[in-house]
């Protein structure tokens, strides 16, 4: 009688907890990045607004936007395709040296293949920081970016 009680009330719950923990650890270990298209943007603004914020206060803007999902709207300044077929889109004002550089998620390449310079676009991506260089201009860099067609 006591043995059955031990099994039912101690061993079984422990096994269940153990199994749940194992599943959680396995899932967490193998967790892949979420598709940016499926994630809601933390902030939505124009390239001009974003670049001005960083130019005014790099540290505060970094703390505000780092790792966040940003939806930026602006004109396509440049479209770069590398030897492996990865795309990077630069959004911003052609009169300025600065731009919002969006490294496009490799599974969303089809969204940018037929893009033309000058097109007004909204892109959603994860902010990885700000690179201010007197020669190259000051850019905000987004990775895992996707084109956001929703307004």
């Amino acid at each position: 009688m006591k043995r059955k009680k031990i099994i039912r009330y101690i061993v079984l719950p422990l096994l269940v907890i153990g199994a749940v923990a194992a599943i959680y650890i396995y899932k967490e270990y193998n967790r892949k990045h979420k598709d940016t298209a499926r994630v809601k943007a933390d902030y939505s603004l124009t390239t001009t607004e974003l670049l001005n914020e960083f130019a005014a206060n790099e540290k505060a803007s970094g703390e505000k936007y780092m790792d966040k999902v940003l939806r930026v709207e602006g004109a396509v300044k440049d479209i770069i395709k590398d030897e492996k077929g990865f795309y990077t889109i630069a959004l911003g004002d052609t009169a300025s040296m600065s731009s919002v550089r969006c490294s496009i998620d490799s599974t969303h390449t089809n969204e940018v293949i037929s893009l033309k310079k000058g097109a007004i676009l909204a892109v959603k991506g994860i902010c990885t920081g700000y690179t201010a260089d007197e020669l190259l201009g000051a850019d905000v860099v987004l990775v895992r970016s996707v084109v956001d067609s929703k307004k």
Partner: protein, 186 residues
């Protein structure tokens, strides 16, 4: 007379502008592999948003990259990399400032392939160390493809690996650089 002066000024202008030519990229690729021999899985990441500038007259070469730009396949590995190992919230950027040895032997105006050593200061995680790498420069169609492979000891940059994962992460990381540089128009 006026015409001669004009032509001379133009000639000097052209000559000096060639000398001050800089090539750049904002989509440079930096890949690293820190997989130890006893690890069951690959510890690797790629950064596709590195910037690079090369001054072809002086041979000065510079790189800059945001640590958060390193993309890992596993989200958890990327989070550990940023939060615990390179502490990117404290040290968001990695930089390299150096020179191409024997730069004068490279003819940037003609298509060709050159092997040259690149030496300079590499700063990661707030620590700076001098590194030297064998670089390959391919000049083709007005663009320069710069490639290099070298290794860095993680402890040199005060990147500490906790005992729990010490057998998975190698003490030395192999870094591969690949950039296609184009002329920076002033």
């Amino acid at each position: 007379m006026k015409r001669t002066i004009l032509v001379t000024i133009l000639a000097i202008f052209t000559a000096t502008s060639i000398h001050a030519q800089k090539y750049y990229t904002k989509t440079g690729k930096i890949y690293f592999d820190a997989t130890s021999s006893s690890s069951p899985e690959k510890i690797e990441a790629t950064n596709r948003t590195a910037t690079c500038v090369v001054d072809v007259s002086s041979g000065a070469i510079q790189f800059a990259m945001l640590m958060k730009g390193f993309e890992f396949e596993r989200a958890l590995m990327q989070e550990h990399f940023n939060e615990n190992y390179v502490e990117s919230h404290k040290f968001p950027k990695a930089e390299f400032k150096g020179k191409i040895k024997d730069n004068h032997e490279i003819d940037y105006t003609k298509d060709g392939t050159y092997k040259a050593k690149v030496k300079g200061d590499l700063t990661i995680h707030g620590e700076t160390k001098e590194v030297e790498a064998e670089g390959k420069f391919v000049i083709k169609g007005g663009k320069i493809t710069a490639e290099a492979e070298f290794s860095v000891k993680l402890s040199d940059f005060k990147i500490s690996i906790p005992g729990l994962v010490a057998d998975k992460i190698a003490k030395t990381a192999k870094i591969t650089v690949s950039c296609v540089l184009e002329l920076l128009k002033s």
